[in-house]
């Protein structure tokens, strides 16, 4: 696994990273989210060694990261680009060899990947003659061609159409299943929520929330239920249930939908029994905040905090 500890980086007077620590575990897809300028790209560049940190440590499988290990990483930078006049297959073979593959392995790897991405018939064309969508696929292939042991992708989904998103998601899933730790940054939080096992939220150069996506959504708050009782009227049926109270009665669209906040002693089954007694229950579910809501919560400063600042 990849471990970043206490990374610091300044550009002149601007603090880019301020003690950032991040783990990317094997076999897990980790989403890296945060406002623009929070330090995502800097962190990724430090991991790939194209940028040096002022202080802090990056380890790979518990050993300090060196050039040899980095050569086996795959990277898609935010600024996309390959050699415009080089042929697609030549380009992939070349990059694979720069990452340390033998000529034969580089060629088989390139051919397989082109096949998988549906680019076999463009293999001998110069990159600049391809459509933008196909160029994006080649860019992805460039990150994968040497069968990397870690994948780092900076905004890989930006600019992709829905089909492209599906292709990329599938490819990343397959890499994760191969046991490769995958770290990608994105502003598309619904996508991150859907795809990722773990997420790290960064703000002002430090991580403000990180961990399992489900866990993060539950952490530090009581459970909330949405209950819909057909022909029910208001939340009167909830009166007297221990530790439960109604917080919203029409958020779900009127007809008998109630949002119920529970404290830690509350008995969910008791709520269900009471609801069934009031009428037929058509909906009963636990409600978790979306990643977007969570993101706004941790990233936006509290009004009071802002006033102090």
């Amino acid at each position: 696994m990849l471990r970043c500890r206490d990374l610091h980086l300044r550009y002149g007077s601007v603090v880019a990273l301020d003690g950032l620590s991040l783990d990317v575990e094997a076999g897990r897809m980790t989403g890296f989210v945060g406002p623009n300028g929070a330090g995502k790209t800097s962190t990724m560049r430090i991991v790939l060694g194209v940028l040096g940190a002022d202080a802090g440590e990056v380890t790979w499988n518990d050993a300090p990261l060196d050039a040899d290990a980095r050569r086996r990483f795959g990277y898609m930078p935010e600024e996309r680009g390959l050699y415009p006049k080089m042929r697609v297959r030549d380009q992939l073979v070349y990059l694979a060899r720069l990452h340390g593959l033998s000529a034969a392995d580089a060629q088989t790897g390139s051919d397989e990947l082109l096949e998988r991405l549906g680019l076999t018939d463009r293999a001998r064309d110069e990159l600049e003659t391809l459509s933008l969508g196909n160029q994006q696929r080649v860019q992805l292939a460039a990150a994968l061609v040497h069968r990397p042991e870690l994948l780092v992708l900076d905004e890989p989904f930006s600019g992709l159409d829905p089909i492209g998103v599906d292709v990329l998601s599938g490819v990343l899933r397959a890499e994760v299943e191969r046991g490769v730790p995958v770290l990608f940054s994105s502003h598309q939080l619904e996508l991150v929520e859907r795809l990722c096992d773990a997420v790290a939220i960064v703000k002002d150069g430090r991580i403000v929330a990180a961990g399992d996506v489900e866990e993060l959504r539950r952490r530090g708050r009581g459970r909330t239920l949405r209950v819909t009782v057909e022909s029910g009227d208001g939340a009167g049926w909830l009166d007297g249930v221990d530790g439960a109270r109604s917080i919203d009665t029409d958020g779900g669209g009127g007809n008998g939908s109630v949002l119920v906040a529970l404290d830690e002693h509350a008995d969910v089954q008791a709520v269900l029994d009471r609801a069934r007694a009031a009428g037929p229950v058509t909906h009963f579910s636990e409600v978790l905040p979306t990643l977007s809501e969570l993101f706004r919560e941790v990233v936006q400063p509290e009004p009071a905090e802002e006033a102090i600042a």
Partner: protein
């Protein structure tokens, strides 16, 4: 295979694939062949002078003119013509180099004072003298002795090698080829660096290898390509000169070619490092011209100094230029080909050039490592040096 080697191989293959390079190579070869053919066509009859003689009074000139050939370094032929008009036509067409009309008038095309005219005037004085002496009753034997004394022996204090002209020609061609190769491939290094930034491929490449591996792989690849083109041009030139029999190639051709190639490599490395610094300062090709411009001017100035060194290989300017690292790769081969250069001077100058190249290799690597990922407006050299690697 090392990263440097892979980068060099890519540069070589991708450049060789480009149409621009093929066209440029063909043009250069075409130019060399054209120069060879033209000199073969025009140079051939330089060794023969033809003089037309009109009227009986001119006939006495025939024998003395032929006899004056060796002193002029040519073979003199004479031809008898019917009248002045025919002689004028012959001179005008270039069939005749000069014509003597009735022993009173000399016709030439342009130059009234060339050596052939002087020889004709000499013959006229000789004939007048012979007439006067004959009329004075000098016996024929004495007359012959007086008019045809044994020639003075001539000794050159500072003799020129017999192939001096060929050596100068070779030096002119060599310095031009050096200049073209250095400036073309130097700019190719700078252009390649900027292209990787403007196409943004640089970050992908640098996630796999180190900046200095990329930089020196690129310089090595382009240098190898330049060397191939350089060797091809020289090869075609030498082969063409031998085939068309254009004159005596200097006896030193093999060694001279090796020397020029060695100087090319040193000069290319030196200039490639400088051009790579120019490329490191900008991230768009539009900005490259303004940064590389001063460097191009330096290269042109060094070329001109070396070029004029062909005619004055021993002047102070040429001597100094043959030691200054930026001009040495062009000026020293010129001095070596044309003049007399002690071997130690050649060795010192070559060592100085290599030392400065080594220093520039370190400097350019440091600057490149600090600026390779930097996109945006042009950097000043001072800021580039301050950027962390």
């Amino acid at each position: 295979m090392s990263a440097r080697w892979l980068v060099a191989r890519r540069e070589l293959i991708e450049r060789a694939r480009s149409r621009a390079l093929r066209v440029a190579t063909l043009l250069q070869l075409g130019l060399i062949v054209a120069v060879l053919v033209i000199s073969a066509l025009t140079g051939g009859d330089e060794d023969t002078k033809t003089v037309g003689l009109v009227g009986s009074a001119s006939q006495a000139y025939a024998q003395p003119l032929r006899a004056s050939g060796p002193a002029l370094g040519v073979t003199v032929r004479v031809r008898t013509l019917d009248d002045r008009a025919a002689a004028a036509r012959g001179v005008d067409d270039g069939d005749l180099d000069a014509a003597v009309v009735d022993g009173r008038e000399v016709l030439v095309e342009h130059d009234r004072t060339d050596t052939l005219t002087a020889a004709i005037q000499g013959v006229q004085r000789q004939l007048a003298l012979r007439g006067a002496l004959e009329r004075a009753g000098v016996p024929p034997q004495q007359l012959a002795q007086a008019l045809d004394p044994s020639a003075l022996s001539v000794r050159a204090l500072d003799p020129q090698p017999a192939d001096q002209d060929s050596r100068s020609g070779l030096a002119i061609v060599a310095v031009l080829l050096l200049y073209i190769a250095i400036i073309t491939y130097g700019m190719a290094v700078a252009g390649g660096i900027v292209e990787e930034k403007s196409s943004r491929v640089i970050e992908v490449v640098l996630s796999a290898i180190r900046p200095r591996e990329l930089l020196f792989g690129k310089i090595a690849g382009l240098g190898a390509l330049a060397l191939c083109q350089f060797a091809l041009t020289i090869g075609v030139g030498v082969a063409g000169a031998l085939a068309l029999n254009i004159a005596d190639l200097p006896s030193v051709t093999g060694g001279a070619a090796a020397l020029v190639v060695a100087w090319f490599l040193a000069g290319f490395l030196l200039y490639a490092c400088l051009y790579s610094i120019a490329g490191a300062l900008v991230s768009r090709s539009e900005d490259l011209q303004s940064v590389a411009g001063p460097l191009n001017l330096v290269a042109v100035a060094c070329y001109l100094v070396a070029f004029f060194g062909v005619t004055s290989p021993d002047s102070t300017l040429t001597t100094v230029a043959s030691f200054v690292p930026l001009s040495a790769p062009m000026a020293m081969p010129v001095r070596w080909l044309v003049g007399d250069v002690p071997a130690w001077q050649l060795a010192v100058s070559f060592a100085l050039t290599l030392l400065s190249a080594a220093a520039l290799v370190r400097l350019s690597a440091a600057i490149y490592a600090g600026t390779a990922l930097r996109l945006g407006p042009r950097l000043s050299l001072r800021r580039a040096l301050a950027v962390r690697g």
